[in-house]
Symmetry: C2
Subunit: 293 residues, 2 copies
Amino acid sequence: MKLLTVGLVQHACSADTEANLAKSMAGIRQAAADGAKLVVLQELHRSLYFCQQERLQEFDLAETIPGPTTGLLGDLARELGVVIVASLFEKRAAGLYHNTAVVLDTDGGIAGTYRKMHIPDDPGYYEKFFFTPGDLGFQPIDTAVGRLGVLVCWDQWFPEAARLMAMASAEMLIYPTAIGWDPNDEPTEQARQRDAWVTIQRSHAVANGLPVISVNRVGYEADPCGQGAGAQFWGGSFVAGPQGEILWQSGQEETVATTTLDLSRSESVRRLWPYLRDRRIDHYGDLLKLYRD
Amino acid sequence: MKLLTVGLVQHACSADTEANLAKSMAGIRQAAADGAKLVVLQELHRSLYFCQQERLQEFDLAETIPGPTTGLLGDLARELGVVIVASLFEKRAAGLYHNTAVVLDTDGGIAGTYRKMHIPDDPGYYEKFFFTPGDLGFQPIDTAVGRLGVLVCWDQWFPEAARLMAMASAEMLIYPTAIGWDPNDEPTEQARQRDAWVTIQRSHAVANGLPVISVNRVGYEADPCGQGAGAQFWGGSFVAGPQGEILWQSGQEETVATTTLDLSRSESVRRLWPYLRDRRIDHYGDLLKLYRD
């Protein structure tokens, strides 16, 4: 057995970035007190989900990595002896910004960063305006608690991303996320969307024999321009085992939770379901195209 | 709307191959009478699942394509005006056999074949002994009812296969299947396996915005050598829509069912969830490796 207790911090955000970060950090403290050695935060936890409109002033939210937030979280990681997966609006240069996950190790240093590779853009989620698609590829990050396959939100819909992380020996897949409903959608459509979101992420566990940790925000956030209906973030953060089995799942309220994974189970599952043995790489060439036409 | 009524024929098999085929054909007639224009049979529907042991005499079950079964099913397809997806043990040459899906079109001819590309091999499922991995790649098959992304059983665990079919304009994914439980496994393990099987296939619908049709056999089949515990095939054939939503799912009994799909829904779903727009093919190169080491 190779046990790892994982903490998830799911919360609502306001326009007060200091208060949001304080909430995330209080959650990390609570999860660590409950035994977590790895704590995962939601996507862009320091702010409102600012991509509902394309407003230039939102770029003021961006910060460098390393920067003030990684400094605070690094100190906390060292103090508590935990690994933290955070999610920041990265200012790389004036005019060059990324949606970046940063991993703080138990020594307080930055173990690595992952710049979101797949960038969504649809009404209310105008991320292509804010974030340049990542240029670091799909590289897991080594930490004191294992090799982390950190991906971000929209990446969760792409089996290619999960596979590439698994093939690089990631021991788990981690998705900080900000996803919600359009309040004007029918409840049946809302249910299909949330169910699809759980299903696709569980499927990465199944296809790769890896645990999956997904952390989403909660709360209603209004359209800052008052044009759209805003977003009702659906929470539902969860941990799945390497057969895709749900080990823990939250509701729609603010939550700090811990779950214990047995990382050694991945190898037993892969012996039973040896997909890595049987991939037909001699016929996968067209995966490098956009379309086979 | 582009409506298509799909029929699924899920049944048990015995050592009497004539009786099995008669059962499949009766199911096709019933589905057609209920309005189906496309009828999908389970994997290797003409026989017991003969891969529980590596016995040489099982190769006697193989037949050529075209051959007697494609003749009978082609005649039936023409008579009923339906497209049939069948699954045969193909004898290509002495010593060269495949697990092949064959599609009979409404004119009675063979619209195309798909030779199972990913071949499993685990205790009780010794397919690598019987089937050479397919050499036709992942090519959808054009028929009177649309372009079919036909895959077979073990393929269902590989997101790459579904993606390649979607990228080649398949309008739906179809999986004839033979999967069951080891009766000695704990009910919790059995539940995880069946749930993972549904989840991974629904995820292909989600990732690709395509409906999925999966047809499995039912019934208990003993180990012909009396060594193992045999296999309890779990049925559970289902149809999912392009958001992965279950439209219909069977239990563990013999069933002939029809469900109507609206194929035009795929495009609306893909406009909402435009994964094809955002694939990072500039960073997918390592998918053509077995492992990134």
